[in-house]
Symmetry: C2
Subunit: 159 residues, 2 copies
DNA sequence: GCAGGTTGGTGTAGCTTCTTCACGATGAGT
DNA sequence: ACTCATCGTGAAGAAGCTACACCAACCTGC
C-alpha cells in the first residue's frame, strides 16, 4: 500500500474515532436528562415535525412500528410525551411533546449549538471552509456508494 | 444566532449525518459476514493484540467482563475464535482467532482500505490535506472537551 | 504449607433496542 | 354491507449491555 493510500486509511480511521467520541459524548449527555439515544432521536423528530401518529414516526426513524410503540411507552412513562387522540382517525394516536419534553429538546438543541461553537469557533475561517468543503465531498461520495450498494443488493435479491 | 454560528451547526449536523451513514454501511457489510458491530470490534482488537484473556479484552473494549463472555460465546459458536488454555493461568482462557476468523478480519481490513480509497481517492490533494487538517483540529477539540467533562463529572461525584 | 485476599470467568437477573408474526379495531372503497 | 388496507399492540425472541454473586485458581505472608 502506497503512502498516499495509507494517508487515506488514516483519515478514515480518524473519522471513525470521531464517530465513536461523538456517540459516547451524546449518550452521556442524554443520560443526564434520563434519555437514551433512541428515545432522544424520537423526541428530536417530534420537535421537527410536530405531533405525529406512530406510523409516521416509524417511517421517519426507519424502524418498525412495533419499536415505536415501545419507545413511546417509555417516553410516556417518564413524562416526555403523551398519546393524544387523533380526531381524524380513531385508530391512530398523536404522539405529542409534553411541556417537559419540549423544554428538554430545546436544551438539547442549545447544547448541540454549543458543541458546534466549541468545535469550530476557534478555527480560522479559511480552514473551516476547507474542512466543510472536504466534508461535503466525503458525504457525497458516501451517499453515492450507499446508493450503489443498495442497487446491487436489490439486483441480487429483488424484493 | 448569527450566520457564522449557523454554519457551525450545519457543519456539525453534516458530521452527525456522516456518522450515521458510516455506521449503517459498516453494519450492513458486517452482516454479510455473519457479524455484528460488537463482535467485529472484538475480532478487530484480537487482530491487533493477538490471543488475549477475556479480561484484557474487556479493558481494551471498555465493556464489562461479563459482556465479553457473551461475545466470545457467540464468536466461538460461529467459528471465528476459540478459547485456548492459558498455560500460565489455569483460570484464564486465551481467546484466539481461528483461520476463518483471521481471514474474515483480513477481508474487513481490505474493505476499510477500499472505502478510504473510494472516499478520498478522487479528492484533489490540497483539499484532502485541508480536510484532514480540519479533522485533526476537531478531534483535538473534542478530546479536550471530553476530558474536561470527565474531570467535571469526577469533581461532582468522585468515585 | 496454608489461611486470606485477589483475580478470571460465568450463572442469574434485568434493561434497552430491535425484529417478525398475529390479531383486533378502525377506516375506506365498491 | 363487504372487503381490504392500515394503526397500534401482544407475544416471542435475538443481541448488547449492566450489576451482583459465586467458584476456582492464583498469590501473599506468616
Amino acid at each position: 500500500m502506497s503512502a498516499v493510500e495509507e494517508s487515506w486509511t488514516r483519515a478514515l480511521e480518524r473519522i471513525l474515532e470521531l464517530t465513536v467520541l461523538l456517540h459516547q459524548d451524546a449518550a452521556r449527555g442524554l443520560a443526564r436528562d434520563g434519555l437514551t439515544t433512541s428515545r432522544a432521536t424520537l423526541l428530536w423528530k417530534l420537535r421537527e415535525i410536530g405531533p405525529a401518529p406512530q406510523r409516521r414516526l416509524a417511517e421517519e426513524l426507519d424502524v418498525s412500528p412495533r419499536n415505536v410503540t415501545g419507545l413511546v411507552d417509555a417516553l410516556e412513562a417518564t413524562g416526555f410525551v403523551t398519546r393524544e387522540h387523533d380526531p381524524a382517525d380513531r385508530r391512530a394516536s398523536l404522539v405529542t411533546l409534553t411541556e417537559h419534553g419540549a423544554s428538554v429538546v430545546e436544551r438539547l438543541r442549545r447544547q448541540r449549538d454549543e458543541l458546534a461553537r466549541d468545535l469550530f469557533g476557534a478555527m480560522p475561517e479559511t480552514r473551516f471552509d476547507a474542512f466543510t468543503a472536504g466534508l461535503d465531498d466525503v458525504l457525497r461520495r458516501l451517499h453515492t456508494l450507499v446508493a450503489e450498494e443498495a442497487r446491487a443488493a436489490d439486483g441480487a435479491a429483488p424484493s
